[in-house]
Amino acid sequence: MDFVRNFPCISIMLCLFAGIISSGLRGKAAMLVNAALLVTNTVLSACTLAYTLAAGESFVYVMGQFPAPWGNEIRAGVLESLMALFFCIIMLLSLFGGRHKLIEGVEEGKLYLYYVLMDLLLSSLLALVYTNDMFTAYVFVEINTISACGLIMIRQNGRTIEAAVRYMIMSLLGSGMLLLGLCMLYDLTGHLLMSNIKESVAQIVAEGQYTIPLIISIVLMSVGLCIKSALFPFHAWLPDAYGYSTVSSAAVLSSLVSKGYIFLLIKIIYRVIGFEIYRDSRIIDILFVFGLMGMIFGSLSAIRENDIRRMIAFSSVAQIGYIYMGFGMGTEAGMTASVFHILSHAATKSLLFIAAVGLTDVSGRNRQFIELTGAGYRNKWAGAAFTVGSLAMVGVPMFSGFISKLLFSQAAVQNNTKMLPALIVLGISTILNAIYFMKTVIRIYTPVEDTPYPSMTFRNMPLYAVVLVAFIILNVTLGVSSQPVVDMIRQGLAMFA
């Protein structure tokens, strides 16, 4: 079974090849290639996950047979393969769910480009997940940025280009800081491979040298990644980028791209700096505070929003706040909760985006709330899915959001000083979530007399409905039998250390 060790590398390479091949294909064919790629990668990731679970430890794949510290490495553990699996599944579902909008919104001749970019994005995501090399990480961060930017602007109107530019600028700021931090770290340690850096860092800290440069480099990397993942004060680019791009892009961006950066940060915390050292630096408290503020202000902005897509986008800001709050707790449990929330939020947010588009479609493409009145009856599938997503976001038991809330709170209790703020903000944020999501749910289930808009049924949109059902199942599965997933996350985090 050892050939499974090749799978991570193969999956990344497959993505790149698929991208290259697609660039010569027509739109339809590129789509099929992409779908095949995603399915293959899902299978590969699942195999890797099974393998690492069975082995109970992670493995390192050395690229080009150059041994450390010179060569480039890929490392796969339970957590990495779990992430990869999830990313693949969710991207697959998001693409299927948003396909009809894509065909509408993108020029016929350029459709293949979308799939090229998507392939590229997947490759960069997988690389971010698997890589063991900091500089490789940086390169794929940039690739990620570029392809994400392309995904935003594929639906060409002024808005999306502007959003793409803004996204680009913020991303470049972030990656610039990441790069600088990385260079400084390299300067301090002389290594680029994560495991080697970690040893050196431990040594440096033990000797008490270079504390200030080390902290500066940690800060630079963390802030860079925070900007890229739209933590609260750096979220200005997010609503436009998620709000106006085509729905699949929005779903993928919100649930995967920002999560890729967050996952990179997790890797930096565990595998580069070392959890204890990172925890003892003050940056963790800053992350905590920003996380809390994000939870509140993101939701407040969402409440004020009148456009359903932008509302969901703002909700992402709040959810990312949750994740950073989990980091900020500085405990193993907090980290577990954060990772779980990455999964549950990914599953929920793409569901919401895709359901929202179904609702706006039956409301004359109008995204204002007032037009959505009664949309839940015109498109029953989207209505139900949106309701499920909302309930999950609010944290109603049986849905995935409840488990993350549960894990977050349990983690919070373990930290004496941060317990009360975390718990109270969690409570307030739940209320705020309830306000804007439930407002929408009630709105879409408020019937109107003689609407001018047509209804949508299963017959019109079989694929769309199936995708929604799959999302709902995913969500409920996470909510009901979360224990295996949580165990895997724990195991994976343990492998990181």
Binding site: G158, R159, I161, L173
Partner: protein, 124 residues
């Protein structure tokens, strides 16, 4: 501290440049100037890297004249990184410029705030 700063003047300059570039990228309303800022920022980092990789009195790790001793050459990895970084930043700059052209054709301005204003007028 002062002496260190003087000795490592390369790094100091790199940091100042990074600051200039970062500020430009963040604060300039003009898109072209933003891109220039981006490039300054990236260049600053490459300078920083190069400075770190440079060892006084040695030459670039290109085997010339048959000298194979490790002592003769500087650390090759930073140089490699710089090269990679340049590739990345070139492509990013290209993308940004392409976007800028798009926007300019549409809105006849390079001012991002102005574009936002027009967008709002369009009601999109």
């Amino acid at each position: 501290m002062g002496t260190n700063l003087f000795v490592n003047y390369g790094e100091a300059v790199a940091m100042i440049l990074f600051g200039i570039g970062f500020g430009n990228l963040l604060l300039q309303p003009n898109l072209i100037k933003k891109i220039i800022g981006l490039n300054i920022m990236d260049t600053a980092i490459y300078l920083f890297l190069a400075e770190k990789g440079y060892i006084k009195g040695r030459v670039a790790p290109i085997v010339a004249n048959g000298v194979q001793s490790m002592e003769a050459y500087i650390n090759p990895i930073p140089s490699g990184l710089v090269l990679t970084g340049i590739v990345v930043s070139v492509s990013v700059s290209a993308l940004m410029l392409a976007l800028t052209i798009r926007l300019y054709r549409r809105y006849h301005t390079l001012d991002l705030d102005e574009i936002s204003k027009q967008l709002r007028k369009e009601g999109l």
